[in-house]
């Protein structure tokens, strides 16, 4: 039903260099105004839906203070693939805002093996790292792909891998290569080979979609004429819990992505919402009103085994498990205004974590559990704040007017969120220091409720 077409990335050609960032520090505030905007418009995805064409575009605003200069040589023989690996890798790295892409054009012959690299060519262009490799056809329509990451300054190999892949695995393999380069050069795993989910609203139609983290390959998980909110990935990335209003009340469903099968997780008297998976995937925290006010309960992922976790006469909602499964962050107005609290994952003593302002909501733990992001209302504006749990220090991440629904990338380096641009819902992402920003927009309709999926395991 959905046809997908790609346009190859051309953004990294010399006509469109990624400019280096120059940051101006606003006095007295931890915010940066970026002096340039890079339009990174080459990643397009389109699919024919019954309501016309929709496309996800990614645009980068800002960049890291220091961007590592990397050259990605075209891989020998990659023209035989449906898409060029080197272009997908370069697009991923550039999109992170942490790398400066060095144009490999004009170097002949293009090196394929380490022994063919004339390091002087690359250091003269400012490259500190170089990616080389080749693609060769193999049996059964498969390809053998080899790549190496070379340290230009030390003239040594940093990483080298070979893969046997089909054309259908080209994009995912390229994202995995980008993840390796990211990790070797930055010391933290990349999150390019991951997926995101979000809700698209077109007219009166709502679709829960899943796409690659770069916006490619969007597929509809469920479509409805009633709202869908609060999608949450299972820790293995094979199921999504969400809230649907199709039965004239909020009900929590769990759907398996591979089969499309879904079942009701929570449909009690009153409202059922805000699903959050425990890190072991065995149970979910949900918000129910079956006993009166909105309270947090635990429910087995297979249904049943329900127990109440929070116990207040106030609103307790938006639960989120710590990565170690020991604690739950949540929003409560027990103190008179909505604030972020923490409690043991089995319920019990509650500790308040936010005190600044009268509206702090939607907490989400970072993947290392050392900090959390939340939404703060300040003078009618909603923006994202990061709080370090150890020091209680806060870092403003965004300064939007309507930023909401934050979700960490599984490597903890970016936070995706929903925002409004010219009256339309868009997705955006910001680095965990607030310096790098990306925008994802669809051509038609509103996008909201993003959730970044976990790291993928295996092919």
């Amino acid at each position: 039903m959905i046809s997908i077409a790609f346009r190859r990335s051309r953004a990294l050609r010399p006509t469109c260099p990624i400019a280096s960032a120059a940051a101006i520090r606003a006095p007295g505030r931890q915010r940066f105004v970026w002096t340039f905007i890079v339009l990174f418009a080459a990643l397009w995805l389109a699919f024919a839906s019954r309501l016309g064409w929709a496309a996800l575009t990614i645009e980068i605003i800002g960049g890291g203070e220091r961007q590592i200069p990397v050259a990605i040589a075209p891989l020998a023989g990659e023209a035989g693939l449906e898409q060029r690996i080197s272009e997908i890798v370069a697009a991923d790295l550039a999109r992170s805002g942490l790398f400066r892409m060095i144009d490999p054009g004009g170097i002949t012959p293009m090196p394929v093996e380490p022994g063919e690299v004339r390091y002087g060519d690359w250091s003269a262009r400012g490259a500190e790292a170089l990616v080389i490799g080749a693609v060769t056809p193999a049996a059964n329509g498969r390809f053998e792909l080899r790549f190496r990451l070379m340290d230009v300054l030390k003239q040594s190999q940093l990483a080298g891998f070979s893969y046997s892949i089909s054309n259908a695995q080209v994009r995912n393999t390229a994202h995995r290569i980008a993840d390796i380069i990211y990790e070797k050069l930055l010391g933290v795993p990349g999150a390019f080979a991951t997926r995101i989910t979000y809700v698209v609203k077109q007219g009166t139609r709502f679709e829960l979609q899943v796409a690659d983290a770069d916006g490619h390959g969007a597929q509809t998980v469920v479509a409805s004429n009633e709202p869908i909110i609060s999608p949450a990935w299972s820790p293995e990335g094979n199921r999504i819990a969400y809230v649907s209003f199709e039965q004239r009340k909020p009900i929590v469903y769990v759907q398996t992505l591979s089969s499309g099968q879904r079942r009701v997780l929570a449909n009690f008297r009153g409202s059922n919402s805000s699903p959050a998976w425990s890190p072991d995937g065995r149970r979910l925290a949900v918000v129910l009103t079956r006993d009166g006010n909105s309270q947090i309960y635990s429910i087995d992922a297979e249904g049943g085994g329900i127990s109440r976790l929070s116990n207040s006469a106030s609103i307790d909602t938006e639960p989120n498990f710590s990565p170690d499964g020991q604690s739950i962050l949540f929003t409560s107005d027990r103190g008179g205004s909505p604030q972020i609290y923490r409690m043991p994952a089995s319920g019990g003593a509650v500790e308040r974590l936010t005190f600044d302002g009268t509206y702090n909501v939607s907490p989400r733990y970072s993947p290392d559990g050392k900090s959390f992001v939340y939404v703060q209302r300040n003078g009618g504006r909603f923006s994202l704040i990061l709080q370090e749990l150890g020091t209680r220090q806060v870092i403003p991440l965004t300064e939007g007017a309507m930023d909401e629904s934050p979700s960490f990338a599984p490597n903890g380096r970016m936070v995706m969120y929903a925002s409004i641009q010219r009256g339309r819902g868009i997705l955006a992402a910001v680095s965990n220091d607030g310096r790098i920003k990306q925008r994802l927009t669809v051509q038609a309709g509103d996008v909201r409720e993003p959730a970044w999926g976990p790291m993928q395991k295996g092919f």
């Binding site: 046809s3 077409a5 790609f6 346009r7 418009a41 397009w44 389109a46 064409w53 496309a55 709202p227 909110i229 609060s230 209003f245 004239r248 009340k249 909020p250 008297r269 009153g270 409202s271 919402s273 805000s274 918000v287 009103t289 009166g292 006010n293 909105s294 609103i315 909602t317 938006e318 929003t331 909505p338 509206y359 909501v361 939607s362 939404v375 209302r377 009618g380 909603f382 309507m402 909401e404 629904s405 010219r422 009256g423 339309r424 051509q443 409720e449």
Partner: protein, 187 residues
């Protein structure tokens, strides 16, 4: 096939680029109110001759028809919405007669059930708004129970900010969206 898709995409891409700068006209506002003013014109094309339709059999009411008080525009029970102030779940004085009338209806008709649907404006967290909408519905329910309705007769649910009555982004729209709606069983 790929080539067609690719060229179609390129066309849409060019269209998107070309229209990039003229997008500031604001989103079209859906307005469905005038739909009923003019009768739809007769179909332009003639329809093929229809087969004779079977007669529709209807039972004749023996009792004199009593107007459904819940639907009668002259009856206060046809009023189904309670509106709230910003950040408030208190039922305002002007809506107390409506709430009382429905409470009395439930008291007089123990077999009837209703759902109260709470709603909020669009600002803030969707899930927190869901909880606030729930509290508005509960606030109406609590008042009805004080006036004689029973817990079993009323289910409260929330739509949060998800089903706005008015699509605008200003106070006049928001005030329409901060409300609780009463829906009886079978409606």
């Amino acid at each position: 096939m790929r080539r067609i898709l690719l060229s179609a995409l390129l066309v849409s891409l060019l269209a998107a680029c070309a229209s990039k700068d003229v997008k500031d006209e604001g989103a079209p506002v859906e307005d469905r109110k005038p739909a009923a003013v003019t009768a739809p014109p007769p179909p332009a094309t003639t329809t093929p001759p229809q087969k004779t339709t079977p007669p529709v059999v209807k039972q004749i009411e023996t009792r004199p028809a009593v107007a459904n008080p819940l639907k009668d525009p002259g009856n206060i029970l046809s009023k189904r919405s309670v509106f709230f102030d910003f950040d408030s779940t208190a039922v305002k004085d002007e809506f107390k007669p409506v709430v009382s009338a429905h409470a009395k209806f439930l008291t007089d008709n123990r077999g009837r059930r209703m759902v109260i649907q709470g709603n909020t404006d669009e600002r803030g967290s969707r899930e927190y708004n869901l909880a606030l909408g729930q509290r508005r519905a509960d606030s109406v329910k609590k008042m009805m129970m004080l006036l004689g309705a029973t817990d079993a007769q009323i289910e409260t649910v929330s739509f949060g900010e998800e089903k706005p009555r008015s699509a605008g982004g200003d106070e006049s729209a928001w005030s329409q969206n901060r409300r609780a709606d009463i829906v009886y069983d079978g409606e």
